[in-house]
Amino acid sequence: MRVALFITCVNDTLFPGTGQAVVKLLRRLGCEVDFPRAQTCCGQMHVNTGYPGEGTRLARRFVDVFAGYDAVVAPSGSCAAMVREQYPRLARAASAASLAGPPGGAASGRERASGRERASGWETAFEREVAEVAPKVHDLSEFLVDVLGVTDVGAYFPHRVTYHPTCHSLRGLHLGDRPARLLREVRGLELVPLSGAEECCGFGGTFAVKNPAVSAAMCADKVHNVMATGAEVLCAADNSCLMHIGGTLGRQRSGVRVVHLAEILAATEEDTPFPAGEATGGRAGGAR
């Protein structure tokens, strides 16, 4: 299967180890992995902060870049949710604007033309492309469990781990217990339940800096629950949330590391991010 990796701008820039882990894991499972070089960012930050114009430009780039792949895998629940949930809305809004907008506005001539057709039941090219590409975009655990049909990925990670199901994985993509099923099959790994797991960690993109006091209060409760598990490692499928929780764990010198799900699933006896007994004392970014 020919799979495109959508690394996401955050992982590309700050957490390349997560991307390397995805590549390694997917190859091990027999996938041919492609990294389309023209990709940049899904536009989530722009859209969620109130800049849909910029976000729509990035969405157009995304569907252009990823058209034609069997599947697109993103090691980020929130970016996958962005494409699947918000792109159709952006495309609809862009089409509506192209119907109403002045000539030479944001929409291309081609789209204005098809926008007129829309009145008789047609979609614009952008809407069609989104409808084509968006359903093929998967978060990593979704891709493994639903598309490849595996839960035992042959991983080895001899640590006590707790899992934080990030909001967009949980309530956006409805990943359910997929990540837990994957983690339970990892040899050596002890999965301990996290109380209040479904509660938001308080990251929320620009929320973390626009409402820092509330964000920090939410994170304090999350960190409290994480420490109560006695786990060495906090795992999640989104590095943005892990950066926020890990940054707080690090500031508190908690000794708990944060590790992306992909890095745990990619780890083997021969190739482990850190050996048993060495999990503690990590910095904010965890095992990178």
Binding site: T13, G19, V33, N48, Y51, E198, G202, V214, A216, M218
Partner: protein, 479 residues
């Protein structure tokens, strides 16, 4: 306080102050968690909850699409049943209508059934200006009124108060408003309720005019419906000679039969009960009673014009979204500066006031700083949408309103710069390489807006090589 508590600064400042009030956080945490658990249990026991939710959404959407038609049907039915219908375009007109109706009775005191609409328009204050005293009869509203306080929750307006605070309020203030609390009042819930009961009973028996809102209005029959827990509402609805109901135009349902859906959705979502203790319905004027219905717009038709934002008008004020909201749980209702706090307030208040235009509600000043900050009072975690019994996609509306809100200049520039970088992969790669080279110089505590991050969290290490450079150098890890 027409809709907004006047003079409130923007949300982040209010929230930061509230977060540090440990008593408040303790009270809220306890209350929201208890009610959250109860709701989850009674919602979980219905196998067809999702179908009910979809039906609730569909009925409301249908009604809103045909609002003009259904409102006229309602007016006709209420009039036929001996009631009088008044149309109020905004808060000022509604307040004037109600005040004149009360003055026509010659009374200077009214009793009130708990109502969000009358709080939204600041009715009590408007009546006070004309020499009319409005007495709240809902227990929690009574606590708020006696404490000279502001409501902080839709369903439990005094949620920020605990028992001993309530005892103090009763002991100090009840006597100034009517029958005093007993001198030996304890903070036992039963003793507190008994003091309130005696205080209110006197009021019910002496009042000639009552003012209510309504949870639902049935267009086909002209019936109004109030759901409550205490029975105080029913006292107000039945004892006085004149009943005036102020109801938002979106509270309409087309048919009597539609109640089947909402009488299941509302109690389970709001109090976490299978059924609420008291459901009162009335159609027009009862014998010997005068009935007036004031239909309130106050920004609602403007909200209706917004294709994305209009779903907020489906709201049945159950407050489930408040109870599950991690932000509300930590800051309480006052930080939202409006009678509608929490997630629904964050999308409803700015819309009712008009997001972009100067409206009468904004006193011609355009959007207030507080209203502009409300759509950002959320981490977009989606817990509200999941809990909402009429499936209002609150995160979708928040994001939609953020696009309409005014943005600070520095943020606009930063977003434009980020857009420019992401517009070409080569620009992104160059920016990443620059970051990689400067990685050693990133301080542990950032200056300026960065401090909002580093006050409580470490910054991640910037890697020496980005993923895309690694991919190029190693040909995708094959070399």
């Amino acid at each position: 306080m027409s809709g907004t508590f006047l003079g409130m600064p923007a949300f982040p400042g209010n929230a930061a102050a509230a977060v540090h009030d440990s008593q408040l956080r303790f009270n809220l945490r306890k209350a929201t968690r208890t009610i959250r658990g109860k709701r989850a249990a009674v919602v979980g026991e219905l196998p067809d909850w999702e179908e009910l939710r979809a039906a609730g959404k569909a009925i409301k959407d249908h009604t809103l699409r045909n609002l003009d038609r259904h409102l006229l049907r309602l007016e006709e039915a209420v009039t036929r049943a001996g009631g009088r219908v008044h149309w109020a375009a905004d808060a000022a007109e509604a307040n004037r209508i109600v005040a004149e109706l009360v003055e026509a009775t010659g009374e200077t005191e009214v009793v009130k059934v708990k109502s969000m609409a009358t709080q939204e328009i600041g009715l009590n204050e408007a009546l006070a200006e004309r020499g009319i005293t409005a007495y709240e009869t809902d227990l929690a509203e009574l606590i708020v009124q006696l404490g000279d306080d502001l409501p902080s929750h839709i369903l439990v307006p005094a949620i920020h108060r605990n028992r001993s605070e309530i005892r103090e309020i009763f002991r100090e203030k009840m006597g100034q408003w009517g029958r005093a609390a007993p001198g030996d009042l304890t903070d036992d819930p039963r003793a507190l309720a008994e003091a309130a009961r005696l205080h209110l009973r006197e009021r019910f028996l002496s009042s000639k005019v009552a003012i209510s809102g309504a949870n639902f209005m049935i267009a086909e029959t002209g019936t109004l419906v109030v759901l409550e827990s205490e029975g105080n509402g029913r006292m107000c609805l039945t004892l006085p000679e004149t009943l005036i109901s102020v109801v938002g135009i979106e509270k309409l349902l087309p048919r009597w039969q539609d109640l089947e859906v909402f009488l299941q959705l509302l109690p389970r979502s709001s109090t976490g009960e299978r059924m609420n203790p008291y459901t009162s319905t009335w159609t027009g004027a009862a014998e010997g009673q005068e009935f007036h219905l004031v239909l309130l717009d106050n920004g609602r038709t403007d909200v209706l014009a917004d294709e994305v934002g209009r779903q907020a008008l489906r709201c049945i004020r159950c407050s489930a979204c408040l109870n599950v909201c991690p932000v509300y749980e930590r800051v309480g209702g006052h930080a939202y500066g409006s009678v509608y706090p929490g997630p629904i307030g964050a999308i409803l208040t700015p819309q009712l006031h008009g997001m972009t235009r100067a409206t009468p509600a904004s006193h011609g000043r355009g959007i207030s700083e507080l209203d502009a900050s409300l759509p950002y009072a959320s981490s977009l975690c989606g817990a509200c949408f999941e809990a909402c019994p009429v499936a209002i996609d609150i995160p979708e509306v928040l994001v939609h309103l953020r696009a309409k809100a005014p943005h600070p200049r520095s943020e606009r520039l930063a977003m434009r710069a980020a857009g420019w970088v992401f517009d070409r992969p080569v620009r992104l790669a160059r920016t990443q390489r620059l970051g990689g080279r400067l990685r050693r110089f990133v301080p542990g505590r950032l200056p300026g807006p960065g401090a909002a991050w580093t006050d409580t969290r470490d910054v991640p290490d910037i890697p020496a090589e980005s993923f895309r450079d690694w991919w190029d150098r190693t040909e995708g890890g094959t070399r």
